[in-house]
Amino acid sequence: MKLITAIIKPFKLDEVKSALRDAGVEGMTVTEVRGFGRQGGHTETYRGTEYQIDFVPKVKVEIVTEESGVDRIVELLTDAARSGKIGDGKIWVTAVESVIRIRTGESGADAI
């Protein structure tokens, strides 16, 4: 099993959600996060003074899936979250040792 983590632009969340749901992905976890990458931050001006805002608001999407679904989900995510401009974010995939469904106690692929 794998954990797919994607950092995306907040306004792309609805597109990402619809694309994944249409493709049969049954669950995801979303967190509002802040950070910076190559895009860097931006500046805001208050009373003529510029402030550097380093941490830009982003959304973190987490999906646990069986190994066989990884490529397809990453492709869907990439397509749905891409605006083509700097700051579109990143996706990374990590190994998951075990998954347990709390209500039933099922584990492994059955629990996804």
């Binding site: 001006t45 208050y46 009373r47 003529g48 402030y51 805002i53």
Partner: protein
Amino acid sequence: MDSGDVAWVLVSAALVLFMTPGLAFFYGGMDRTRNVLNMLMMNFYCVLVIPILWVLVGYTLSSGTNDFIGNLDGFMLKGIGAGDGGTLATIAYLGMFAAITPALISGAVADRMTFKAWAIFVPVWSLLVYVPVFKWVFGGWLGQRGSLDFAGGTAIHVNAGIAALAAVMVLGKRRGWPHEGHPPHSMPLVMIGTGILWFGWFGFNAGSAGFANGQAAQAFMNTFLAAAAAGAAWVFVEWKRDGHPTNLGAASGIVAGLVAITPAAGYVSGAGPIWIGLIAGVVCCYAVRLKTRFGFDDALDVVGVHFVGGLVGSLLIGFFANPAFFDDESFIAHGFMKGIFYGGSPRLLAEQALANGSAIVWSFALTFGIMIVLKKTIGVRVDAETEYTGLDLALHSETAYHGGAA
């Protein structure tokens, strides 16, 4: 005062009271999430202690016929009863001014002053600085010489504004300032505060006529126009200069215009208030940048908006005071001089300069002294850890915004 006058002064008093929460939101929104409650509390504290101080001794010490200070004849409102509704209404009305004046200073000392020091500073400053300056300007030696201050440009805004400068000079800079910037945590809160201030300011200025009359109506109109003109001026300057029209620019301009028209509200008419607003908007928009050049950490620009705006408005009376509107004879019968643009001599301008100069010297020196005494005795700064973690939790044991799962 007839019943209409009493009604208007009572309504105005309530309007002015509402300005203190308005100011709290205006400042609080500009402050950081971890210090916003401390900012609100510094403001609300003023309406906890000043009303009591005002009826005990403040009012009586600032009234009467003496040049420099009143007397204690009216201690605890002695001798003033329901038979004299006009006087009671006026004392309550002026008490609201006494409460908001020290509150203005809170914006400068934001993020680093101990609440204990603030708790002592507010009543002491009111008695040693506000009361005498108020007395000099309204009925004391400065007023008798012919200087004009309709609703407190000199007595309130210049006075509190220069006190803010003296206070931050003793208090010192916030850690990290000016390299670390701290943008406003909630612009919507700033805009709500600005709206409340503007609303309340109609009571502040139009109520200062003391009667429900034509002068009150003119002051109302002037308050309306000057705030709009100054807000527009600030927004267009920064739009051209920095590339964007900002909410904070609009809010700051509105407040600068309200401050500037305060001393002039009952003495100018026609296009006068628009010019005063435009000039104040442009001047204050540049004045708020001086703090970084001169290195005084006036956190929320009390000096750039209240001191500079008040001074600009007060000096412009020397040009714009218009006896025609108030019918020439009564204006002169009251001993009021004309502005330069209406056929007057530069004498009025000179008196305005003297009045503000006197208020500035007294307020700066006394405020500096009060702050030094506080610093040497109980201390005025929070410790480094409190400054980093925030004053809300450390000093008030409260948190403004509980994020995430409650």
